[in-house]
């Protein structure tokens, strides 16, 4: 019976791993089929085959082009069903290949000469998104140092903005930051000059709230947010942040949100475990920064409050183009210049630009736009410290998801619930633990205990605590953050005994000292003499056995041992030792009497 259980759990894990393999995903679309006849066939033999084809399947094959005669390359209209039928028919003896005639699309590659240096745009998958939309008829407000109309913004549409620093209509830039940010969102594109922008048919609303030094007051920022919402902007980008929680700013954001505006903000550049304000507020999409390899940029904030990640760049001496390249002004001379900059300031406008693309295909409502952005992001596995939020921004996936007529309402509501912000003291990352494997491990530990039920006090609290501690820990605490405090205590409480080794530094790998029979052995040795704690020790030993079996089946990644059969063997061996130890200890403990 025990062996049956082990085999069953193992098969379950294997099926899980295989069915989730991305190689099984759809590989393209086609509505015709290519026939490549053997070179040694004569024209009359081929004619005969074509006639049979036409009689049997009612389809006519023709040469692909004037040059296809020599290769005997024919195409005919048909779908996957016809393809399968042809591959099974006698025809296959006369051909070298019967293949789907996959459609390849020319990508929308802009002619801007420095587009090749914009690794950031390719990394968010922008080209296929441009096939669908370029952000037409959406207004994006850029709340920043102002925007100067540099040559590469000449074809970009503007609406009336305002300068809240100097109280005037002209919101030109005297710092260079705002113009750069605006460039990422809507740099004039396909204009044979400079670089490209994400939603280059959208309209920009310049709102200057930061001085030439790059700082400004929450009063001005709050006013600018309300101005944007009242003047028809439907996306706001704020590449700015601070450390003070103010009522005036939160109210302004809630006002804009309730008027249907998507608010995006930078998570901050202090490499700390919490988004800055205003990114931290509930109705703001908070963006952390990636470098050109897709890893967290060294300066980027992470953890509590981070919703999604996007390219922010990282400039190092050997690679100045690791930054985000846009045209802006030189603050000293006011002249236009192409410069790479880095920061979550550069990451936020990527998300604001894609939000504009989403709105231009008809999905306007801010909560739905946030849902689409996060649901379509490329998920980063094992993101224990929440460097990436929902994942890496993906423009094409976002636009495609937004175009689907009916979003799955159930998914949407689950997402709303999982992203529940309760208040500014704490925050919950709903995606941090996969619930099913954890529940499976707890159930598995109970199953192991059930085999030994003759020796165990099944209703005992000590035993139950041991089973949970060993198998899953208080796993729901893993995604729990208190703003501005380290998250490690929650990761430790949220870890099972085998996971403790990686919990402090947030590593997803199992440490072989912790994921083994070692700790259960010590617990039993120390606690077997105690009337209450002995059941905790037995329970945690069985719990560890269940956790190790589950890990071997689903995710056997062990430090120094890799993720292959070596790791799997190590985990299963230790699971066996734990179960053996647990049953010996249970027998010994029960002969000492049920005192729990």
């Amino acid at each position: 019976m025990r062996r049956l259980l082990l085999i069953g759990l193992f098969c379950l894990g294997l099926a899980w791993a295989v069915l989730g393999y991305p190689g099984f995903a759809n590989r393209g679309s086609y509505d015709s089929i290519v026939l490549d006849f053997r070179e040694d066939l004569s024209p009359s033999q081929i004619d005969q085959q074509l006639q049979t084809l036409s009689q049997q399947y009612g389809v006519t094959a023709h040469l692909n082009s004037a040059f296809s005669q020599a290769d005997h390359l024919y195409v005919l209209n048909g779908d996957s069903r016809l393809l399968q039928a042809l591959r099974r028919s006698d025809l296959r003896k006369s051909v070298e290949a019967i293949d789907p005639n996959y459609t390849y699309q020319a990508l929308e590659v802009p002619n801007d000469p420095d587009y090749s240096k914009q690794w950031n745009l390719r990394s968010i998958n922008i080209e296929t998104a441009w096939d669908e939309t370029k952000g037409k008829d959406v207004t994006v407000a850029v709340i920043d140092t102002g925007i100067t109309k540099v040559p590469d913004l000449a074809n970009t549409k503007f609406v009336r903005g305002y300068d809240f620093v100097n109280d005037r209509e002209d919101a030109s830039d005297d710092n260079g930051h705002g113009t750069h940010v605006a460039g990422t969102i809507a740099q004039s594109t396909n204009n044979d000059y400079g670089v490209a922008g994400i939603a280059y048919e959208a309209q920009l609303m310049p709102l200057k709230v930061l001085s030439s030094f790059g700082g400004g007051t929450v009063a001005d920022i709050a006013e600018a947010i309300r101005f944007a919402a009242d003047q028809g902007a439907t996306v706001i980008n704020m590449s700015l942040g601070g450390f003070g929680d103010t009522h005036v700013l939160k109210e302004a954001i809630d006002y804009a949100h309730q008027k249907g505006v998507v608010v995006v903000a930078a998570a901050g550049n202090s490499n700390t475990n919490s988004a800055a304000f205003p990114a931290r507020y509930a109705n703001v999409i908070s963006v952390s920064a990636l470098d050109s390899t897709g890893a967290k940029a060294p300066y980027s904030n992470f953890g509590a409050g981070v919703d999604i990640s996007a390219p922010g760049g990282a400039i190092v001496d050997e690679n100045p183009l690791g930054g985000i390249l846009q045209e802006t002004i030189d603050p000293e001379t006011g002249k236009p210049q192409m410069v790479p900059l880095q920061g979550t300031s550069m990451a936020a406008p990527h998300v604001a630009g894609v939000a504009a693309l989403i709105q231009s295909v008809g999905m306007k409502e801010p909560d739905k736009v946030a849902f689409v952005l996060q649901q379509s992001a490329q998920v980063v596995k094992d993101d224990a410290l929440n460097h990436f939020g929902a994942g890496r921004l993906d423009a094409t996936a976002a636009v495609k998801l937004a175009q689907r007529e009916n979003l799955d309402v159930k998914d949407f509501f689950r997402w709303l619930r999982d992203n529940g912000y309760f208040n500014l003291r704490f925050w919950i990352d709903g995606g941090v633990t996969a619930l099913l494997p954890k529940l499976g491990m707890v159930l598995g530990s109970y199953l192991l205990a059930w085999f030994l039920r003759n020796y165990l006090p099944m209703g005992s609290f000590a035993l139950a605590s041991g089973l949970v501690t060993g198998s899953a820990g208080l796993f729901f605490l893993r995604g729990f953050y208190i703003f501005d405090l380290p998250q490690a205590p929650f990761r430790i409480l949220g870890s099972s005994i085998p996971e403790l080794g990686g919990a402090i530094q947030g590593s997803p790998l199992l440490n072989p000292f912790f994921a083994s029979v070692l700790i259960p052995f010590c617990l039993i040795a120390l606690l077997l003499g105690h009337s209450w704690w002995k059941w905790f020790a037995v329970g945690s030993t069985l719990g560890v056995a269940a956790c190790l079996i589950g890990s071997a089946a689903i995710d056997p990644a062990v430090l120094w041992l890799g993720e292959g059969w070596l790791a799997r063997g190590f985990l299963l061996l230790n699971a066996g030792l734990c179960f053996g130890l647990g049953s010996l200890a249970a027998k010994a403990a029960s002969s000492g009497g049920h005192t729990a």
């Binding site: 920043d144 140092t145 710092n175 260079g176 930051h177 930061l210 001085s211 030094f213 790059g214 700082g215 400004g216 007051t217 929450v218 009063a219 920022i221 590449s239 700015l240 942040g241 601070g242 450390f243 003070g244 103010t246 930078a266 901050g268 550049n269 202090s270 800055a276 304000f277 205003p278 300066y299 904030n301 400039i315 603050p331 900059l341 880095q342 920061g343 979550t344 300031s345």
Partner: protein, 75 residues
């Protein structure tokens, strides 16, 4: 009013800004208008000033410190 000891550094965030980094690794962003004599890389200083929670910036490297006065420390 707070007193902070640390080293002046140039930060590459945003269009560039000045930072005061303490020996514990806490970074403050120096608010605009600080004396020019203070803004020199690797200067060891003791700064008296105020944290401006009502200010937001493009650099976002840490709390914004408005300098009221400062003293040079021996390197």
């Amino acid at each position: 009013m707070i007193t902070v000891e640390g080293t002046i550094q140039r930060s590459g965030m945003g269009m560039g800004t000045w930072a005061l980094v303490t020996s514990e690794g806490q970074t403050y962003e120096i608010h605009q208008g600080a004396p020019k004599d203070l803004l020199q890389p690797e200067l060891r200083v003791c700064v008296k000033g105020e944290i401006r929670n009502d200010v937001m910036t493009i650099a976002m490297i840490g709390p914004v410190l408005e300098v009221k006065s400062f003293e040079l420390l021996k390197p």
